[in-house]
Amino acid sequence: MTNTDLNQVCAGMVLAADVAGADGNVLLQAGTTLNDRQLDLLRAHGVTVLQVTDTAPATGDEPDADELDRRLQERFGLADANHPLIRELLRLCRQRRHNPPGTAGGQR
């Protein structure tokens, strides 16, 4: 387990160790499956590195499709899901969710 830059961490990754803020208080506990809002909050608390495992733990399996979809819907929460462009983006995001560009998983 090594330290990972927060910017390389994506929703769906699981904390391998507790994360503390600058004041020493634990913000999130080991075992938490990170979502985008938690990542924003860690960023807002000045956290720059954390320890994560790459995939969800529990079963050791990939999160199921419903869970991935729920996270995707959350990221799209401010957008109108009925608009054709948003519908198309959701479709494309489902296609490419395992390998988004500009993230650790997307780099060759």
Partner: protein, 288 residues
């Protein structure tokens, strides 16, 4: 133009640290003047050897992929074209001006990755719209969020509060900024680009990228950058200011006149250029 109180002070702070080189300002003026030639502009750029060297490094990067080495600024202008080259110069200068400033809230890498992806998408959308000089949309996309960078670096405490508020209220970051600061990154970015004397189109797209219906003179630019921001927010999982995809203004997408079927190709195009462009602009080693 008058700004909400606080913005002028903010911009004054940043101008001291991140003023555009005089050469760039002169080159921008010359490009807007129909009477100047490519060689006139080349001569001005050559007055700043560091800038000329950086420019040659950019045009010889894998982003362009020219088969033979380009040795002089005037040759670069002939091959690449004045406008596109100027975009690159401005991009490189702005990235460099901000690059060394630490921000604890968002890394420079994450910030520029989102901006660069939006820039590539904006240019690809403009190309499909058959907009003249589609490459000018690249710089508009690259600079659209520059106000966020100013706020993250100059008002980190308020921005932390704004990000927390946005997460808590499930609202866009710019709405939370308005509540916490009294203004948002759109207004700050526009004020900075205006102070830098950059073209009005760039000022207006920065100001209107979350509310493109408010654009008065550059409606297409504002609409395309708005859509590019939404598309980049969706396509890059770890977007710079927030994980959330910003809201789409439907009229902006209508204005592009594009069918949603183009989006898959636009993303493929942006993906294929992203790593090389990031290496060129951020000065990283080129990807293998």
């Amino acid at each position: 133009m008058s700004h909400p109180s606080g913005i002028d002070a903010l911009i004054a702070e940043d101008l001291q640290l991140a003023s555009l080189p005089e050469v760039v300002i002169r080159a921008v003026d010359m490009v807007n003047d129909p009477d100047t030639s490519a060689s006139d502009i080349g001569a001005v750029i050559n007055e700043d050897p560091a800038l000329a060297a950086r420019l040659l490094k950019l045009v010889n990067s894998p982003f362009f992929g020219f088969p033979s080495r380009i040795e002089t600024v005037s040759r670069a202008i002939t091959i690449v074209g004045t406008l596109e080259l100027l975009d690159l110069i401005m991009g490189a200068v702005v990235v460099k001006a901000f690059g060394s400033m630490p921000s604890t809230l968002v890394s420079m890498n994450a910030f520029w990755s989102h901006s660069l992806y939006a820039a590539l998408v904006a240019r690809a959308l403009a190309g499909r719209h058959r907009a003249p000089k589609a490459e000018r949309f690249f710089i508009a996309g690259l600079l659209h969020d520059i106000g966020s960078l100013v706020l993250l670096q100059r008002r980190p405490r308020q921005m932390r509060a704004a990000l927390e508020r946005a997460a808590r209220h499930r609202e866009p970051t710019f709405v939370a900024e308005q509540a916490v600061l009294g203004f948002d990154h759109c207004a700050v970015g526009a004020a900075l680009l205006e102070a830098w004397r950059l073209p009005e189109a760039l000022v207006e797209t920065a100001r209107c990228h979350h509310a493109p219906a408010g654009a008065r003179h550059h409606r297409l630019e504002s609409a395309i950058v708005h859509c590019a921001d939404v598309i980049a927010g969706a396509a890059t999982a770890c977007a710079a200011d927030s994980g959330a995809v910003p809201p789409l203004e439907p009229a902006a997408w209508e204005l592009t006149g594009l069918d949603v079927a183009v989006v898959e190709g636009v993303l493929a195009e942006a993906d294929s250029q992203f790593l090389a462009a990031r290496a060129a602009l951020l000065g990283e080693p080129a990807p293998a």
